[in-house]
């Protein structure tokens, strides 16, 4: 039985556990039908030209873990941003861990999707927002929608700001030989609300894990959302991240994506500007080695006038790693005075590494500023010589240059402790100890 068949038959088992009378279940039923019709995307589709899901479909994934697994905080502390106080929504093998979490209902709701999808008090909000910006026909999104049951639910009312950043952590313990996870997150920032979210996926063993995640983010007028994604660095973990963002007037949303490994990572990051004077920022640092693969597929849809978008993705590819950057910008006819900027710079540090970079601009307005640039190169020999001539050995000098290359993406990280942490991850990834904290 292939993965698609297994998923479709699992849906019946899934239905035994959820409330079939809840309106959300109609959405799920529709979604599984769509998935059944479409199946997994293939390389024949333009958007999947450079990323194949074939080998993942051959794995016999466990779809429902048998039992809840526990972790001790001290064993996983290093994956939290423990230097500062945070709200925490923690999942172990897809199951909520109240022991490791710190949720709140104090003026804001930072809690669970399973509550939001079942408790009557959330029904009005779920009716308005759930599955409203996520694609209704993209097959992996519909697959997630069909099985949507658990994840993070964050609701920040008008003029509110949580006291501290929110961490969403997904641990895979490896207690199941193989595991498919489908977290579903809903994040709503009402007018003038502000929040910071850090989402991290971490495997604790080298067992096969595939995560197919969907996150919907709604930023109302003047809302500010900072979203940081720290992706799995374990070579047997695969992640398909589908994020959909709806922005209203004068809202500011920034998404930073840090990809430091994983077998296969696909980021479908979609911004829809449904208002004026909106700012959207998409930044990424990708550092890969071995046979790792990362595919950044971004969309910024400028639907109203006077908005800005900034994209800046840096990639460093070694060994047999492969990278894809596919950045699509659509500017509707009425979206005059759009300022859209896109930059993708890559360094290949091995002869066998590959990058495919493809900007796609569809501009229907005539008074816009749109620019895009893409570079693929090696480390600058003159710069390398400069550092070595000061006594810094070749390996360290290379690392310093790669760090410098990726650095400007980090400048917009607004949580200093997270910035320090990312710097350390980069230093580790580059395999050097530079004698100072970067």
């Amino acid at each position: 039985m292939d993965l698609k068949e297994k998923l479709i038959s699992s849906f019946m088992a899934f239905e035994n556990d959820v409330d079939l009378d809840h309106p959300v279940h109609d959405i799920r039923s529709m979604a599984i039908k769509n998935f059944e019709m479409k199946g997994f995307p293939s390389k024949k589709e333009e958007a999947w030209k450079y990323t194949s899901l074939n080998s993942l479909q051959k794995i016999d994934f466990t779809i429902f873990p048998k039992e809840a697994n526990a972790l001790e905080y001290r064993d996983v502390k290093k994956y939290f941003l423990h230097e500062i106080d945070t709200y925490k929504i923690v999942f172990i093998d897809g199951i909520y861990s109240s022991y490791l979490s710190e949720t709140t209902h104090d003026g804001v709701d930072i809690c669970l999707m399973s509550s939001a999808l079942t408790k009557p008090m959330y029904k009005a909000i779920i009716d308005v927002y759930f599955n409203k910006i996520a694609s209704q026909d993209e097959s992996l999104t519909t697959l997630n929608t069909a099985f949507s049951r658990e994840g993070a639910y964050i609701y920040i009312p008008k003029n509110k700001m949580p006291k501290k950043p929110i961490e969403i952590l997904h641990f895979a313990t490896g207690n199941e030989a193989t595991l498919l996870l489908q977290p579903r997150n809903l994040i709503i920032a009402e007018e003038n609300a502000e929040l910071q979210v850090i989402e991290r996926h971490q495997s604790l063993t080298s067992n096969e894990v595939l995560t197919n995640s969907v996150t919907e983010i709604f930023a109302a007028k003047n809302a500010i959302v900072d979203y940081y994604k720290v992706q799995n660095n374990v070579g047997t973990a695969s992640l398909i991240d589908n994020t959909y963002i709806d922005q209203k007037d004068k809202s500011v949303v920034k998404v930073h994506t840090f990809s430091f490994g994983g077998n296969l990572t696909r980021n479908n990051l979609n911004f829809y500007q449904n208002g004026e004077h909106i700012e959207s920022t998409l930044k990424g640092v990708t550092i890969l080695g071995e046979k790792q693969h990362v595919d950044h597929c971004t969309l910024v849809h400028h639907k109203q006038p006077n908005c800005e978008s900034h994209q800046d993705y840096k990639g460093i590819y070694g060994e047999n790693a492969t990278g894809v950057f596919n950045g699509k910008i659509i500017v509707d006819k009425i979206a005059q005075k759009t300022d859209a900027f896109q930059q993708n710079n890559n360094i290949l540090i091995s002869d066998k590494a590959t990058i495919n970079s493809k900007p796609q601009l569809e501009i229907f307005a005539d008074d816009v500023k749109c620019s895009h640039g893409c570079t693929i190169g090696q480390l600058d020999e003159n710069a390398l010589f400069y550092l070595r001539s000061r006594g810094i050995p070749k390996k360290e000098a290379q690392a310093l240059l790669m760090y410098a290359f990726a650095n400007n993406v980090l400048e917009s990280v607004r949580i200093p402790e997270l910035k320090t942490r990312i710097n350390k991850l980069i230093a580790n990834k580059l395999g050097v100890n530079l004698g100072f904290n970067l």
């Binding site: 600058d380 010589f385 001539s389 000061r390 006594g391 810094i392």
Partner: protein, 250 residues
């Protein structure tokens, strides 16, 4: 200290140095002058170990040791320093952190522990005062957004920090206004001792009014065509390089 014998060097099969002989002893200041394209910067890069230059004949020795197979970082550890004509920008790495890395890597190569933090701070303070460098400057990213003068001053600051045996200053005077030139020259003069040596590579005689050389060599078409004392520099200033080119042909 430095002995260059019949040095021939090429890049991409293009021969640039065609038999250079030069001996530099501790305590001496040598100026190497010459028109554009004569091989001045190539000579500096070959001494510092830039890999794209190949020595096809002859040798470069530092204190009796042939440098041919020595990596740039090893040469730095042995006490060679080159001030770059075009210093490279490294965003995200502060001047201070860069110097800490450079000094501790050099100490590591000599089997020493890292320099204690307070000692490092003291050294940085002392040397930055010598070059009249503002503290704020030290926390800025290396060379990023620096003016031409700031870059050159920062080069000499690095030299002061690393205390090399042999310093090669490649066109350090280019792009400097008179105040910056005075500060840089003053720094170099203070760092000069009986134990170290300086090679000044310059197109103009201007720098030599501030740092007085013991010897002046004129490079033309990959060869030293004339050597003399500091008065040679003044002669060049007056007559230009053309009379030497003619002499070289003879």
């Amino acid at each position: 200290m430095l002995k260059i014998k019949n040095l021939h060097a090429s890049v991409d099969d293009k021969v640039i140095l065609k038999g250079i002989n030069l001996e530099v002893n501790a305590g001496e200041v040598h100026a190497i002058m010459g028109p554009n394209g004569s091989g001045k910067s190539t000579l500096a890069a070959v001494i510092a170990g830039k890999e794209e230059f190949h020595i096809t004949e002859g040798s470069v020795e530092l204190e009796g040791e042939d440098l041919e197979d020595s990596a740039p970082e090893d040469r730095a550890h042995k006490g060679i320093f080159m001030s770059f004509q075009y210093p490279v920008e490294i965003p995200g790495v502060s001047v201070t952190n860069f110097m800490k890395t450079a000094i501790n890597e050099t100490r590591k190569a000599h089997g020493l522990e890292d320099m204690p933090a307070n000692e490092m701070l003291k050294l940085i303070r002392e040397k930055s005062e010598l070059l009249e460098i503002d503290r704020k400057f030290l926390s800025r990213s290396l060379n990023e957004g620096f003016s031409g003068g700031e870059k050159k001053r920062n080069e000499i600051f690095q030299m002061a920090m690393l205390e090399p045996k042999l310093a090669i200053l490649d066109e350090t005077d280019s792009g400097l206004d008179i105040d910056a030139l005075r500060i840089v020259a003053n720094g170099v003069n203070k760092l000069k001792s009986k134990k170290n040596a300086v090679i000044l590579i310059t197109h103009y005689q201007r720098l030599l009014e501030y740092i007085v050389p013991d010897f002046v060599h004129v490079l033309h078409d990959g060869k030293i065509v004339k050597s003399g004392g500091k008065e040679l520099a003044f002669e060049l200033e007056e007559k230009g390089y053309d009379w030497l080119k003619n002499e070289a042909v003879l």
